[in-house]
């Protein structure tokens, strides 16, 4: 029983990070109907940057923000190089391949200049063995911190979207960019800002996940992005609450499957969930059905 509960708890925490990734992906989907297929490399770059800076004796309080700044800037670059010139082309193929290419480029550069071995990610707040006891179960403090960060961030985002001027602007651009422009919303600025936010979220997710797994290597982001995508689709593209629920559900399913069957089964679970959602209810839990105008 304890084993199951621990798996569930681990799943919830890991799922919260998937949710973070999911929101990063949907931010750009909102404003441009595109997604960064190389998002995984941004997760990785931030984690690698933080690790490198910290091993160069920089304090975590400086290293982490610098790493996040890096992933933010890179994402703005993605919008400028891979999305803007190609979204016009019509059809998805252009920007899907271009963003994938960007991700591979980053991954290749990191592998070439930092090596492709896995490196240890230093503990930030708590050590890997610290724990608290809740209801008789030993719960890792690191996991708990990660969970708290994710949920806190999501609450902040939800408030931002629902109650602030710029949150309204984002929703307007997501719904109808032309109508938003006519209402005075500076659409281009909103788009770039959404990409920047997406980059920052990706970087944060990368650091948080590395905290849990303990290591970083050039290719670790790619798998995560797929999981983040599944969480986004499951919860409904564009819904923050949906992303959280989707991520947690996915994380729990993955951990349970991984704990009782095998890790590969856990990954297959994500894929199966994706297929099921797309087949049964493509708009996800909280999403809206899109009508095809002929």
């Amino acid at each position: 029983m304890t084993f199951t509960l621990q798996l569930i708890f681990a799943g919830v925490c890991v799922g919260a990070t998937y949710a973070l990734i999911a929101i990063g992906l949907t931010l750009t989907f909102w404003s441009t109907r595109t997604m960064n297929f190389g998002q995984g490399s941004l997760l990785m770059v931030a984690a690698v940057a933080a690790t490198t800076l910290m091993s160069a004796k920089l304090s975590a309080y400086a290293a982490v923000p610098i790493a996040l700044l890096l992933s933010t800037v890179l994402m703005i670059l993605v919008e400028r190089i891979a999305i803007r010139p190609l979204a016009r082309l019509g059809g998805s193929m252009g920007w899907v391949v271009a963003t994938l290419g960007f991700g591979l480029l980053l991954q290749g550069i990191v592998a070439r200049f930092f090596g492709s071995q896995a490196i240890m990610f230093p503990s930030l707040v708590f050590g890997p063995l610290d724990f608290v006891t809740i209801a008789g179960i030993r719960v890792s403090s690191q996991y708990l911190t990660v969970l708290a960060c994710c949920i806190g961030l999501m609450c902040v985002m939800e408030i931002f979207i629902r109650r602030t001027r710029w949150g309204r602007a984002v929703r307007a651009v997501a719904h109808d960019a032309e109508a938003a422009a006519v209402a005075g919303v500076p659409v281009k600025r909103v788009v770039v800002a959404s990409f920047a936010a997406s980059g920052a979220l990706a970087g944060l997710a990368g650091i948080l996940v590395s905290q849990i797994t303990g290591t970083v290597e050039p290719q670790f982001g790619f798998n995560l992005v797929i999981l983040g995508f599944v969480a986004a689709v499951f919860g409904g593209m564009g819904s923050i609450a949906g992303a959280l629920i989707g991520g947690i559900a996915l994380g729990v399913a993955e951990k349970l499957a991984g704990g009782f069957v095998s890790t590969a089964f856990g990954d297959a679970m994500a894929f199966a969930i994706l297929m099921a959602v797309l087949a049964i209810r493509p708009q996800g839990l909280f999403g809206r059905r899109e009508i095809l105008k002929v």
Binding site: F37, I81, V96, T263
Partner: protein, 606 residues
């Protein structure tokens, strides 16, 4: 186009290619071992790139995890040989078939999804298969891999009782590849290949010609998966060892790069791409070190800098119809209604609502066979919606639609098209890269009766059909006045010519009922006259026409009667002349009576 280039293309087509293949086969006897290995890898990579080309370049479906199919083919054939003791001529087709089946199954899942969702799913597919191979170590050897596979490299392979040295294996692969490419070539030049391009450009337009989108995509996936599986099987028996890293994301990326840089949509493109990217890592050590940085950069920039790849840069565009005898082409027989009733189209109390708003409210009307009906009404009155309902794009929430006595509401659009209901769109939906002739040929899709295989093998019946339709297409193209641009890609044509191309496509389909959505919009005087002539000849050949338009002058000379829609209701039905007196019509267009209108005076502040 440069006549020298044109000549080069024609000659380079079948005969010279065959000679080259034979020369290469013979050269293998004398070449060095490293050369043979390199050429063998080129063949494997070419198959992989072709696989991507079929799916992505031609059918327009993205796949980022294609290496998964390769691993099915590779492990399948290796295991079939090791565990089941099957010989090469059996294990390879078997594993290819397995891969094809998985592709076919996958296509069901992906068929309903938007494009980039699809891309994510394929990424997931590749990842799943990679994990599967890694974890199922009892079958695949897991991380340690599968070794001692009967192969040319280890000189442990034989087929048909003959020991396969690397040279012999290369010759075998060469022969099989040559056959596969020949079949692919014939397929691409067939109506089914053209259907793939149609699906890529616009699924809605494809459906309007009778092309079933789901079945077409399934075919594309199956073919593509088969090709990739074949590549995998050949690879397995080339190197003699398989590990999970053989088919990871990098492998999928390599195939993508070769296909994209080589040139999507052509047969030569994947060959160029595989040649370039097999030789470079081998010959250029520097390249090998920075390989994935280069691939990443290439994928990032290729669509901006080199949208049609190397093939688009150096070679003339291929022809997308079979090289066959063009025959006279029968004049289309007058389409007679099969049932007794005069009414070809019956619309019975049809309603449809979008998001709670009623676009059509209990519309009833019928169209007699052989008549030309004008459908008019103010913007937003529901005219296009009605046409979309008739041709099967939407399903009515109430009422029924009968064509030739049987119900068609609820049928998929391609099925309605197959019955002979053809439509055009407000904005011409053509395949931009195709010529006028190739676009027009698409119209005949519903009339071809041969299956894809008969086109692939160039059987007589299929070729005769193609010849007949080529002839008929020539006639129709001349009829709409486009004979002088018949072989020009449509994106180079004027708007008016593009519209006429779409019209010609509709005519070639030998429609029984044609629905035209604002066909005269944007046409010059001369083009409008030609349009009138074509419509009259359609009527003469027995077709029934429903015309949405706003130009009253244009309609006056053509229509037998009109139906006026306003706010989703049919408010008038009858001859056009009497329409102007009908008070409901006047109100719909002018508001209340014009004489009563008194403009309000506003004080204009200084």
């Amino acid at each position: 186009m440069n006549p020298a280039r044109e000549a080069l293309a024609r000659v380079a087509d079948a005969r010279v290619a065959l000679v080259l293949v034979v020369v290469l086969g013979v050269a293998a006897e004398f070449a060095s071992a490293s050369s043979i290995q390199l050429w063998s890898f080129v063949l494997v990579n070419m198959l992989a790139a072709q696989s991507i080309n079929i799916l992505t370049g031609i059918a327009g479906q993205i796949s980022l995890g294609h290496a998964g199919f390769m691993s099915i083919g590779a492990y399948g054939s290796a295991l079939a040989m090791i565990k089941l003791g099957l010989p090469l001529p059996l294990s390879v087709p078997l594993s290819t078939a397995c891969s094809a089946i998985v592709g076919w199954a996958l296509s069901f899942a992906v068929g309903r999804v938007r494009e980039f969702y699809l891309a994510m799913m394929t990424l997931g597919f590749g990842m799943i298969l990679y994990e599967l191979v890694r974890e199922w170590s009892s079958l695949t050897g897991g991380v340690a891999g599968l070794s001692a596979i009967p192969s040319a490299a280890l000189a442990s392979l034989s087929a048909f009782g003959v020991k396969l040295t690397p040279a012999r294996y290369f010759q075998l692969m060469l022969a099989v590849c040559a056959l596969v490419i020949w079949l692919l070539r014939n397929f691409i030049k067939s109506p089914y290949g053209r259907a793939f391009f149609a699906i890529q450009t616009s699924e809605v337009a494809a459906g309007s010609m009778g092309i079933p989108r789901a079945a077409t995509k399934r075919l594309a996936y199956t073919l593509s998966a088969a090709l990739m599986g074949l590549a995998g099987a050949f690879y397995a028996h080339l190197v003699g060892y398989l590990g999970p890293e053989s088919f990871d994301l990098n492998r999928s990326v390599e195939a993508l790069v070769m296909a994209i840089i080589g040139g999507l949509g052509t047969l030569v493109g994947p060959l160029l791409g595989s040649l370039l990217f097999t030789y470079l890592p081998e010959r250029l050590q520097l390249f090998a070190e920075y390989q994935f940085i280069v691939y990443g950069a290439l994928l990032l920039l290729s669509f901006i800098l080199l949208p049609r790849g190397l093939a688009g840069l150096f070679l003339p565009r291929p022809r997308y119809y079979a090289a066959t005898q063009v025959t006279g082409g029968a004049k289309s027989e007058p389409a007679a209604p099969s049932s007794d009733s005069e009414k070809l189209l019956q619309i019975d109390g049809v309603s449809i609502a979008f998001l709670g708003l009623k676009a059509l409210d209990g519309v009833s009307m019928d169209v007699k066979a052989g008549h030309l009906l004008g459908l008019i009404g103010p913007n937003g009155s529901g005219k296009s919606t009605l046409v979309n309902l008739i041709c099967g794009l939407y399903r009515p929430t109430g009422g029924r639609i009968l064509f030739d006595g049987s119900r068609v509401d609820g049928l998929a659009d391609h099925r309605v098209a197959r019955l002979g209901v053809i439509r055009t769109f407000q904005d011409p939906r053509l395949i931009r890269a195709f010529t006028v002739r190739e676009n027009v040929l698409l119209g005949a899709h519903r009339l071809y009766s041969s299956n894809p295989a008969s086109f692939a093998f160039r059987w007589r019946g299929a070729m005769a059909q193609e010849g007949r339709f080529l002839g008929e297409a020539d006639r129709v193209i001349a009829q709409v006045g486009l004979a002088h641009v018949a072989d020009t890609p449509v994106h180079e044509l004027t708007y008016g010519d593009q519209r006429m191309t779409e019209l010609a496509r509709a005519v070639l389909a030998r429609p029984r009922l044609v629905l035209l959505d604002e066909p005269a919009a944007g046409l010059s005087e001369a083009e409008t006259q030609r349009l009138e002539a074509v419509l009259k000849s359609l009527k003469d050949s027995g077709a029934t026409v429903v015309l949405i338009d706003h130009h009253m002058e244009f309609l006056r000379g053509l229509v037998d009667e009109v139906v006026v829609l306003d706010s989703g209701k049919a408010i008038y039905r009858g001859p056009m002349a009497a329409m102007y007196q009908d008070e409901k019509v006047v109100e719909a267009y002018l508001g209340s009576s014009v004489e009563e209108a008194e403009p309000a005076k506003r004080s204009i502040d200084a």
